[in-house]
Symmetry: C2
Subunit: 411 residues, 2 copies
């Protein structure tokens, strides 16, 4: 068994440091808000992970970045091909918007069609390293289906908590992956609390965001890829959809890792994008940083999170980056779905198009300018929420099978 | 403009050869059944495409095989990353079935989540080379959404004909890609005929299977990848779901290409798998080769094709390969969805799991044996047909957000 380059797990609140065998979830002193951060031994990593090793590396998946991941036993890595999703130069959108330096990362191209396959792949490695047989999480849907798929692929059992309102495609995925699915009569926030209780009661391995300290590490691989796909050029702004705030902290961590290793010499400004009907992080980063809980009300189910579990880290990361927050309406989110599909053939779910909608808004309001170097993160596929896609997309024309019927419409 | 290595287009029926500028669709002499095959200049291809060039090739997409594709102007290649989908060694399935030499190719991992992105990408290159502005096709759904996505990504307009019964996810995709969607009150077969009529009437560029001669060339890239991913080892059997019969001919073409180029020294046996409720090709290959048309009746919409347009070529290819046909029930197709999800975390649509169901059946019936080298092709993602997935998957447990509710179920 190789051991990872993880040096310590450090509490975001009290700063206490733990060895990886001393703690499983959050800081024992600080409770829920005491999210742990993973600290690496960068000088040792540099010896095996550098420009030269990357050029030779033929592994085109998230495991390309293994030395930067909390994996003690690489034999526990699951079989699904996660990561190395396309970063598009988005030529037609560049031309349409007059933005010559725009990139779009399509992370809907993962095994279960969302970015969440990255952290879930890490969760299954950790669960197996610990000898666990059952994994669990609470999720708006994507973390759930990714965890269930990853568990199935290595033969572990999964118990999943989702709000009863999760889109049916996400629930169907869970069931095909043979999860036991608890559709909770309540919000994601209630499902989250219940899953923690059940974890304590039954001793399952829990993957919840900002509870399991390793999830940020999985999520950061999306930005490690962006960095390499952009040949180590750093964008001015990176637009990220925010629910719990774990993805945006993953993006921050990737850039900090690569900065620590000398691949890049500065960091991008991170822009947190949320829906108007659920924007606690946006309000916090645009003001004094205090996060006020809300009742979510948005079509973007994946980011309908009223109590953002990774709030402290996310707000810190956006503020440190000199970034900001933008909120967009559900209408703007649906328009962004249609725009991404129509101009670039990218089919995003509502949360997946949210960052793009936020970028458009920031551009219209003059917060960013057309020549800025901008990356937009699309986090999930539109196939996961067809009902919303239908609202974005328009209508099919039902016709008799005759040429006359076609002619009538064309002319 | 580079010119492709296409030498001639040759009619399957009468053998007449045409230059690529002499003909657009089927053989003018033979009509509908006169499907054209693309003949390459292999000696010239060998100069630029060989073991050495492949090792150096950093393009991990279908365009990796550019010298073997009918592309005259590579600047017309669209931006979406198509192909280089994972070939899984499927360890858990190998163990469960006692088949140590089983591989599964998951082609649901394409931009619009089906194999059809490959031929559609070729169609858009050809359309642009000809200066066309509008593309069209008839489709059970996947060819449609792939064509629409590819067209959107390069700024062409698409008019799409689907049977009104196509799954709603596929129609939603079309609309997000801004297609004009004709949902025809009739079968796929009627939609097909109507699209040909409309093509003649309006002069659009048509991508229909076994009408546009280049589609087999796009489809073959799935097997070019399999060949390379298996390090040029040839399986004993390759299981392929069959509707029109164009994918299986693509697979045959890939192996013939690689044989002609000296990469491999024999060809695999091709197994055509269809649903019990629609098995004209299976019956033909298992008997005298004559294809009798049927009224389709199966849950596997993508292969619900009663009049297989590429029937002659498909039957020839299976027979030449010394392969055979297998038909599976809708129940077996749904069981295969669940099995692939549960054991390997692969989420297939009904047609996508059909080949796997056929492999199980052939194994049970002793037509193949456990030690045979077998590749199974999964052609589309389960997210494209959630209603069927629900039938395969079981039910979520709706609970109050209390630990007691969880306990009641667990205990």
């Amino acid at each position: 068994m190789d051991m990872s380059y993880v040096k310590k797990l450090k509490c975001l609140l009290c700063g206490t440091e733990y060895g990886s065998d001393e703690v499983k979830y959050n800081c024992p002193n600080c409770g829920d808000e005491g999210v742990l951060e993973i600290i690496y031994n960068y000088p040792e990593i540099k010896k095996v992970f550098n420009q030269e090793s990357l050029i030779k590396n033929q592994e085109y998946s998230m495991w390309r970045y293994l030395p930067l991941l909390p994996v003690d036993d690489p034999t526990k890595i699951g079989p699904s091909k996660v990561g190395w999703t396309p970063l598009y130069e988005a030529k037609r959108i560049r031309e349409d918007l007059g933005m010559p330096n725009l990139w779009i990362k399509d992370d809907g191209r993962n095994p279960t069609a969302s970015l969440k396959d990255r952290p879930s792949a890490i969760a299954l490695v950790k669960a197996q390293e610990l000898g666990e047989k059952i994994v669990t999480c609470a999720s708006t849907g994507n973390a759930a289906s990714s965890l269930a798929g990853a568990a199935a692929s290595v033969g572990l059992k999964s118990y999943i908590f989702v709000p009863q309102t999760a889109p049916s495609a996400k629930i169907a995925q869970l069931l095909v992956f043979d999860s036991t699915v608890f559709a909770v009569k309540g919000t994601y926030d209630e499902a989250f609390d219940l899953s923690i209780e059940a974890t304590r009661e039954f001793g399952w391995y829990n993957r919840n965001t900002a509870f399991n300290p390793y999830m940020v590490e999985g999520k950061k691989t999306v930005a490690l890829e962006i960095i390499e796909q952009m040949s180590f050029e750093v964008p001015d702004y990176l637009f990220v959809p925010v629910g719990d705030g774990c993805i945006i902290s993953g993006v921050a961590k990737a850039y900090k890792d690569m900065f620590s290793l000398g691949f890049i010499n500065h960091l991008p400004k991170l822009v947190a994008v949320q829906a108007e009907g659920c924007k606690p992080i946006v309000e916090a980063v645009n003001s004094d940083g205090e996060v006020k809980f809300v009742e979510p009300n948005t079509i973007a189910d994946s980011i309908a999170v009223g109590i953002p579990r990774n709030r402290l880290m996310a707000v810190r990361d956006v503020k440190e980056s000199k970034g900001f927050g933008v909120a967009v309406s559900d209408k703007e989110i649906l328009e962004a779905i249609k725009y991404l599909g129509t101009t670039q053939g990218i089919f995003a779910e509502p949360a997946g198009s949210t960052a793009f909608a936020g970028m458009i808004k920031a551009l219209q309001e003059g917060i960013i300018s057309k020549n800025d170097k901008v990356v937009v993160l699309v986090t999930g596929s539109g196939l996961k929420d067809v009902e919303s896609a239908k609202k974005a997309g328009g209508r099919a024309l039902i016709i008799d099978p005759t040429l006359e019927a076609v002619k009538e419409i064309i002319n």
